[in-house]
Structures are given as structure tokens and as C-alpha cells.
Symmetry: C2
Subunit: 317 residues, 2 copies
């Protein structure tokens, strides 16, 4: 009997629940909205209902291996408490594990969403066949996941791989975490927008960027990327900033871990061609381990589904 | 029959060979000079002669478990080639393992010296009873060692834990590795001297520092530390720089690894009371993982012997 698992990716906006078989085939899924504003208990209700719906649909045909759930934020593994989560306001110090357990009545794995995505890439994505992996997911924020010897590296309390919060510019842009100059403040989608706003305020934005801002349409990293592709100098400068920050962080990670493979995922990785040149330049400049022995820096091959696959693999692996 | 091992710490200046028993007792040792200027083959000759001397002295009384050798620089584990080593000029791309093997005729372990020191601290030092450990050794340069689950983390090629070469100040002071703004360029003993020289050149050095420089005695980090203890403002400012750099780096390592224990060793750790305040302030400012859950940052308890003990433990463990 083929085994399957339920993989869940609970994001600040989207809540995705999927049924995945042991060969990495996603054969059923529910795409819901998180609707954080309805309160955390309501979100957990709808999530567990979605899980049970898919379990009941398939449990007679296939063997249920288990359930894996990825959630954003700093998760304390010991007790399943979400210590902090910028994407789930109001969930600080919420015992997520206890709340889910009350509703599911069956065992499940709870994991940080970026760790889950890293595991997905390791299972069937760009990190397939690799022993160690460093994964960065570039969305509104920047999450990280470390796979050592095929397993998620949790550290002592489950809070490891907060890779978006390494300091790159000590006196730099304020980050949501309270520090200044974090990678996240320079390379996340939100950082692209912040950098554009700074340019506009300081009166050094290109004509194209000024037009975009005046057009009334929302300033997003996707729109700024479109401008960069059209050759706009301000937009290109912004993605060079992204590349330099990523390159500096990756150089540090190479010097620290000596891993062979780095995978970049999340929506903002779409702008790869706008930041890759400055990223690779910066890695070579900053890492003498790299200069002696270059490594792979790859785009995610699973895209936004990495987290679902990884969550499912928690139960299948 | 009690087991013993030979532990070797080959430094740029000193070459130490010791006999250590399985309980962590150091019962015999040779303190030699490295004399790099005589050439690498000569150094390897004297090192292996020293090893054989101690082996022959004790092999009838105790059971030889093996030999462990710590050497400075980037060591490629696959073939035992020293890829780069600022402290052993002329040893670049030297096949150290083959050269030692030719002379020893018995198996031995070869390890980066900071990794060996980290293992020593884990075995019988400040990291005793700890599962994971991040070790920084502050000497002329800054080396690093990572112990995960009780074992040295090597990465894919043995070059991991180059923790002195994480970038802290992107446009900062030039580092021996070719990058700018590395931890080493701000917190090593050599950085203390460089910072003092900068102050003198820029005409902003205190009276005390000017006097020290004019006295004809060599400007060393130890002398600058003495000044700091006497309350000299320039010397104190320099050690605040050291503390900020260490704190920023440790904050990054906490966010990355989520380890519980950090150990600082090497000669420059003697100045602990001059840098600890700014170090702890910076860690709290930079790491939100720390703010949620503080960790231990400890002085090495083995001092300059950590490397010898760790090298011996490679064979005893």
C-alpha cells in the first residue's frame, strides 16, 4: 500500500494543506487563506479541519504515514511554543503544539516553515543528493534552514538558522527584529521596497521609479524588478544591493559551515538575474574558502511548494 | 593498562608535543620552537622526532592509543594538503599528511589547530558536559572550532569554522585573508596593535598610548591591555572595539546555530575584563534569539593547552 502524508504550510497570508505520496507526488491539496485577523484559535480550527478533510479522503486508499506542519517564526521545540512570529501577529508565546494536538487526536510534526522548506529542497528539490544544505527563503522576510547530514539542524532549542538576522551592516537599516543591518533588511522583498522609498525620499530616484511611485499602483518588489529588467538605473541599483547583501551573507556561511550547496527560494528569488552578478562578486571577494574551492549557489526548484513537501517529508522520511 | 596518546600543537612560533592519558592527565611534554625559517621538511622532521621520542619513552608502560596533530591553516581533509596557512609561510599546498606519514610509520590524526582546541575544551575544559560548542581562539589571528553532537564539524572539505573571517564591517580594516572588515581584523591581538597604530597616526591617541609608543618597547596587545587596566581612554576604546566585534560575531553565531555554549580561548582572552561589557551589550543588541533565551559565553579553562589536549583526544576519543 502506497504511503502518504499531509504537509501543511501555514503562512501569514496563505494556508496550504496537501496530500503527498512517498515518491514526492502531490496528489491533492487545499488552498485556503490564513485570515490571521480572525484570531489564532480560528486559524488552528480551519487548519486542522483541512488536515482531517484530506486524511479522510485518502486514508482508505493509501496508508497515512503522518502529518507535518510548517509554521513561521521562532518555535521552541521542547514545548511547541511559538516564541515570536512577525508573520502571525498575536501568536507570541502561543502553545501551537498543544492547540493542534487538542484538535487532531493523532501524532504530528511541527516545524519552522523555512526548516521545512529546506527539507523539501533536500528531498526532491535543488538539494537532492546533497548531504549538507543551507537554504535561504526570500519573501517578505528572510528565513533560513540548515540540513546537516540529511537532517534539519535545530540547535539546542529549535531556534537555529535564523539566517535572515545575521548583521551585515552594523549601523544600517532597522530590521523588524530590533537590530540594525540584518540580511533581511537588505535582501527581503520588503527591503527592495524600503530601498526604493528611501531613494524617492532622498530625491535620487530615477525617472522610471518616480513614475511608478506616482502611478498610484502599489510599490512592490515585483514591479521594481520589472523596472530593473527594462534597464532602469535605480531599480538595478536596488537589486545590486540585494545581491551584495546575499553574497556577503553566503560568504560568511561558506567560511562558517564549509557546505557544498546553497539554495535560494521564496518569491523574491524570481529576480535572480537582477542580483546574481553582484552576489557572486561579493562571495568571491569575501570568502577565501570559496576562492580556494567554489560551491554551488542554486535557485530553488520547488518554489512556493518547498514547504509543503518538506512538511510532508517530516512524516515520510 | 592505561591508554595514552601523543598530542601535538604545531604553531607558527611554538611546537608542543605532549603525552596525555585517557583521563586527561598530561604527564610528559616537549616544548620546542617551530623555526619555520629552516623550511617545512625540517619542521616536520623535528616534530616527528619529538613524537617518536615520547612514544618510545612511554610505550612499554602504557598502551599507545594513537597520535593527534593540530596544525594552523586551512587543511583539506581528503588528501591532507594544507591549502593556506598565514602562520606557516611557505607551507601553501604542502601535503602535510604524506610528509608526516613517511616519517612516522604509524597511523595518526591530522586536524586544524582551532578545531583541536575546541575538542580539548569539549573533552575536559569549559565545554565539558556540553553537546554543542562554538570555540573562538584569539591569538595573532582568530581561529574557530565547532563541535556538534560532541564531534568536530568539518564541512564538506574540512575547511569549516573559519570563524575569524566572517565579515562584520563591509568596508572596514583590511584582513590578512584579502577581505575587509573580518572579525579577525577587529578582535585578534594583531588588531589591537593595528588600532593603536591608527590612533597614533591619526593624532587621536591618549597621552599614555603616545608614551608607550615613544618608549621604544614593542607595541603589543598585552601592553595595551595593561594601559586599559590603568584607565587609559585610548586603550579602553580599543578593547571596546574588540568586544563589539566579538559580540556582533557571537550574536550572528547564536542566530545561526542556536548553540548553548561559546568558549573564548587564546592569549588575547586574558583581556576579558576589558572587552566583556561591550561584548555582552552587542550580543543582546544583535541577537533576538539571545534576547529570548541567553547563552553561556565562557573563558577557556585550558588556555594554551587546549590544542594539545584536543589533539590527544582525537586518538583517545
Amino acid at each position: 500500500m502506497t504511503r502518504f502524508a499531509i504537509g501543511v504550510d501555514l503562512g501569514g497570508t496563505n494556508l496550504r494543506v496537501a496530500a503527498v505520496n512517498e515518491h514526492g507526488g502531490l496528489f491533492d491539496h487545499l488552498s485556503l487563506e490564513t485570515l490571521v485577523e480572525r484570531g489564532r484559535e480560528d486559524v488552528v480550527d480551519r487548519m486542522t479541519n483541512g488536515i482531517l478533510e484530506l486524511v479522510n479522503r485518502w486514508k482508505d486508499r493509501y496508508q497515512l504515514a503522518g502529518i507535518g506542519i510548517g509554521i513561521p517564526g521562532i518555535l521552541r521545540l521542547k514545548d511547541g511554543v511559538l516564541v515570536a512570529s512577525p508573520n502571525l501577529p498575536g501568536w507570541e508565546n502561543f502553545n501551537v503544539r498543544a492547540q493542534i494536538a487538542k484538535r487532531l487526536n493523532s501524532p504530528f510534526f511541527l516545524e519552522n516553515d523555512a526548516n521545512a522548506a529546506a527539507l523539501g529542497e533536500k528531498w526532491i528539490g535543488s538539494g537532492k543528493d546533497v548531504k549538507h544544505l543551507c537554504f535561504l527563503t526570500m519573501g517578505t522576510g528572510i528565513g533560513g534552514g540548515l540540513i546537516f547530514d540529511g537532517k534539519i539542524w535545530h540547535g539546542v532549542s529549535g531556534m537555529a538558522a535564523e539566517l535572515g538576522h545575521v548583521t551585515l551592516y552594523p549601523g544600517g537599516r532597522l530590521c523588524a527584529c530590533g537590530n540594525r543591518g540584518c540580511l533581511e533588511a537588505y535582501a527581503a522583498a520588503s527591503a527592495v521596497v524600503s530601498a526604493a522609498r528611501e531613494m524617492l525620499q532622498e530625491g535620487r530616484a530615477s525617472e522610471g521609479l518616480q513614475k511608478l511611485a506616482a502611478s498610484g499602483s502599489k510599490l512592490t518588489s515585483a514591479r521594481i524588478y520589472e523596472l530593473a529588467k527594462e534597464g532602469d538605473p535605480s531599480a538595478q541599483e536596488i537589486f545590486q544591493m540585494v545581491g551584495r547583501a546575499l553574497g556577503m551573507a553566503i560568504a560568511n556561511f561558506i567560511n562558517i559551515f564549509d557546505l557544498d550547496t546553497f539554495v535560494l527560494g521564496g518569491g523574491a528569488v524570481e529576480a535572480w538575474d537582477a542580483f546574481e552578478k553582484s552576489m557572486f562578486e561579493e562571495v568571491a571577494l569575501r570568502s577565501y574558502v570559496w576562492r580556494n574551492d567554489p560551491r554551488e549557489i542554486l535557485k530553488s526548484s520547488l518554489g512556493s511548494q518547498a514547504g509543503i513537501f518538506g512538511a510532508a517529508y517530516l512524516a515520510l522520511g
